[in-house]
Amino acid sequence: MATAIALLLLCSPIITLCYVGWCLASPWGTCRRCRPGGKKRTCRACEGTGKRPRVGWQLYVYLRRLHRDGTR
């Protein structure tokens, strides 16, 4: 158990960094909601584009706005 936690602690920064890099490289992911049948014109989540910003990118944009608004 302890070794697993240690391993997780060791790995989490690496995983986070990798995810950050991934988000920077390609901020757009495919829309999950309309995936089964490919692009759906009426999907509200992706407004019919079939592409949605990744969760990490959305979080980043939210935090950036929070900071900008809070320090204005």
């Binding site: 929070l66 900071h67 608004d69 809070g70 320090t71 204005r72």
Partner: protein, 755 residues
């Protein structure tokens, strides 16, 4: 406007129009060029013709564009006294500029010892500060712990105010009171945005701190735990600071040592009561005039004090300021011994270097004598004598020099002899002869190494000093001059004694130093005075080049106690405190007092401080190294050991009788008495020399009649004319009378009770 050509003088008051008549000067071409210029002047033709030289090329007139309204000078050409154009060529200008080169290396870094002392001082200061605070760490810790609760409250309050943006609350309230809806909306939106950001930040910080606190508190007690507690307390304590109560105590109290600024210097100069300075100071506020007081370099630290380079107003010399040094000190609000205005060498007499020390010179700490702990002196090189106001070493070369020390009683005259005598002792090749004619035995340490030593006020001591002078003169005349002249040029290039020559025992050119303390007792002695004066003067004139030097110390340098011939020929002079101008000038040289070199300005506390003249180009103020009796004895013991090791211990220190009575174990008078039988009343010197050479070949071989005469001179025996008939011819030669020899021997035995 008058056009009188013969009266140009009434316009001379205008400097720009100053001109002079010059029949055919260089201005000719210059005016020609402008003849047709637009500014050419219309001139009454009669007067112009009348003033023109008959044989000159008719220069149209002397008009110059910029003097169109000036007076006309029609006789000859006009040449300006103040020529236009450049001042000097750039090389001369550069030379003037280069005269004031700022040092690349700061002054205090120039000499190794000075840099070392500065660094030592600085490091000692910071060591002290560190130690002071280290010892007070528990106190500081308690203080911090006591302030920690206050800090915690302050921190929590501040955090809440920040998180919920309480700073903006008054502005929002005002907006409400004014019914300013737009402003209130704007402000509350801004607050919401801020709180939205700050609450998560505060929460995250709080959570992290809590987590860390719990983790540390839960772990086993260790140093880390205590450290964390200490850090937390320290941070909280620092947060809980009280504005008017600093945490740290003062390790060093500022003690009225204000920085020397130009304002302070100007204020002090203004308080001197010198009219020109006051005039310059009153004008200085209006313009930067030529006669204003100027600073030629930034005021900076120089040793343990401040140094300002000041240009005094036109016509004021540094000696004007020096003679009012006490007033200057008052104006600077410093003790008199801290304020040292000096002229700057190689500059105009109005350039003053003002050095203001941190401590009074007579209380300032003096470095130890460099030769105190060990080492050997070299009489051919400068000997450490004292330190100047700034604590720098002052050294003087005794070889090839004579020295005069003068002062009123009880200000350190004999003490200033000590470093010199000890340095002589620490060079084994020097033969020291020390006569202390005060009789107190202040220089008794010299007995351990001196070739001759006598102390006393009685006639016998005076006689011994006189005999030493006689012997020295005889040595110079009969031995040294001959030896030096006979040496080949490659050994003795300058006809001067060198160290290599002095070290060769066979040549007998070792340096001899004769020290007479309280020499006025000898020179004003009714019986020996006149002769001693002549001998001393001879030695001072001739001796230095041959390695014999004389150091005289006196407390009353008037004509009777110090013959003018001596005072005029001494190279190095050192004057401690004296009472008047006459004494000052007798010791330091004529008109020194006028030039601002005044040993009268020293106070009774300035023991061992005096003016030293003749070592550097400018007179220096020197505080001599101080030795108490045990230290001096210790060093003298070392000098004795050095001499024994070098095989150079001789004379008094070796337990021998003075040389002029029994040289190296033999006695000239007794030898003569033994080779000249009682029946022979008068003998030629040649005969005596031949017989002496038979008696002691190792000593007397090669003696000539002249040498015999010189060797007998110190004993007061003169050679006489003796006429003999040899092979029918009457021969007239120098010789000696046996009765004279016998009389001197008897007299000597009578005078020397210990044998």
């Amino acid at each position: 406007m008058t056009h009188n050509p013969h009266e140009p003088a009434d316009h001379f008051d205008d400097p720009d129009r100053r001109r002079t008549d010059h029949p055919d000067g260089p201005a000719h071409d210059r005016t020609d060029d402008n003849a047709d210029g637009p500014g050419a002047e219309v001139v009454p033709i009669e007067s112009a013709r009348a003033g023109r030289h008959p044989y000159q090329t008719p220069a149209p007139d002397e008009a110059h564009p910029d003097e169109a309204d000036g007076p006309l000078v029609l006789h000859g050409h006009v040449v300006r006294v103040d020529q236009p154009g450049g001042d000097a060529d750039w090389l001369a200008r550069l030379e003037v500029q280069a005269r004031e080169r700022r040092p690349i290396v700061p002054l205090w870094l120039r000499s190794r010892s000075e840099a070392a002392s500065v660094l030592k001082w600085v490091s000692r200061h910071y060591l002290h500060v560190t130690g002071y605070h280290l010892t007070r760490t528990p106190k500081y810790g308690l203080k911090l712990a006591a302030r920690a609760p206050r800090g915690a409250v302050w921190l929590a309050g501040g955090m809440v105010r920040w998180t919920f943006d309480w700073e903006g609350e008054p502005a929002r309230l005002i907006a409400v009171q004014r019914n300013d809806y737009d402003a209130y909306l704007k402000l509350s939106r801004q607050r919401d945005a801020r709180v939205r950001l700050r609450v998560p930040v505060a929460l995250v910080t709080l959570a992290t701190l809590l987590l860390a606190g719990i983790l540390i508190a839960a772990s086993a007690p260790s140093i880390g735990q205590w450290t964390a507690l200490g850090v937390a307390l320290a941070v909280l304590g620092v947060c809980g600071k009280v504005p008017d109560r600093p945490l740290l105590d003062r390790a060093v109290l500022r003690h009225g040592l204000e920085k020397l600024t130009s304002d302070i210097v100007l204020r002090a100069l203004g308080s001197l009561g010198i009219a020109e300075i006051n005039k310059a100071l009153s004008k200085a506020s209006k313009t930067t005039q030529a006669d204003a007081i100027r600073f030629n370099a930034p005021i900076m630290r120089d040793g343990p004090g401040w140094r300002a380079d000041v240009d005094l107003p036109l016509g004021v010399t540094v000696s004007d300021v020096v003679e009012k040094r006490d007033r200057l000190a008052s104006g600077l609000r410093r003790p008199l011994g801290c304020v040292w205005p000096e002229p700057m060498h190689g500059q105009h007499p109005g350039r003053m270097v003002l050095w203001v020390g941190d401590t009074d010179m007579n209380t300032a700490r003096q470095p130890a004598w460099p030769l105190r702990r060990g080492g050997q002196a070299d009489i051919f090189k400068p000997i450490p004598f004292g330190t100047d106001q700034r604590g720098r070493l002052v050294a003087l070369t005794l070889m090839f020099n004579s020295m005069l020390i003068g002062a009123m009683p009880r200000v350190g005259k004999t003490f200033s002899l000590k470093p010199l005598v000890l340095a002589m002792g620490l060079d084994p090749i020097v033969q020291a002869m020390v006569f202390e004619l005060k009789g107190t035995g202040d220089l008794s340490f010299a007995e351990k190494f001196a070739h001759e030593y006598a102390s006393g006020l009685d006639d016998e001591t005076m006689r011994r000093a006189l005999l030493a002078l006689r012997a020295l003169k005889a040595e110079l005349v009969s031995h040294r001059s001959g030896v030096i002249a006979s040496l080949p040029k490659d050994l003795c290039p300058e006809n001067k004694v060198t160290r290599a020559l002095a070290e060769r025992v066979s040549l007998g050119l070792h340096p001899i130093g004769l020290i007479i303390d309280e020499c006025q007792n000898l020179f004003s002695h009714p019986a020996f005075g006149a002769e001693a004066g002549e001998l001393a003067e001879f030695i001072i004139r001739v001796g230095p080049a041959m390695g014999v030097f004389l150091i005289l110390a006196t407390q009353r340098p008037d004509k009777r106690s110090l013959p003018t011939g001596i005072a005029a020929n001494v190279g190095i002079r050192f004057s401690l405190r004296v009472m008047g101008q006459t004494e000052n000038d007798m010791i330091l040289g004529t008109s020194m007092y006028q030039n601002g070199i005044r040993a009268t300005t020293f106070t009774a506390e300035d023991k061992g401080i005096g003016y030293l003249v003749g070592v550097k180009t400018d007179p220096q103020i020197v505080k001599t190294f101080f030795f108490d009796a045990p230290t001096a004895d210790q060093i003298a013991e070392r000098a004795r050991d050095l001499r024994i090791a070098a095989g150079r211990l001789s004379g008094h220190a070796a337990g021998q009788a003075p040389e002029h009575e029994a040289a190296h174990g033999f006695d000239l008078l007794k030898d003569i008495a033994s080779v000249v039988p009682t029946g022979e009343a008068k003998v030629w010197s040649e005969t005596v020399c031949a017989r002496l050479a038979e008696l002691r070949p190792e000593v007397y071989t090669g003696w000539e009649p002249e040498q015999l005469a010189a060797a007998l001179a110190p004993h007061g025996i003169d050679t006489i004319q003796i006429s003999r008939r040899i092979d029918g011819k009457q021969l007239n030669r120098r010789g000696i009378d046996r009765s004279h020899i016998a009389a001197v021997i008897t007299d000597r035995n009578h005078n020397r009770p210990t044998g």
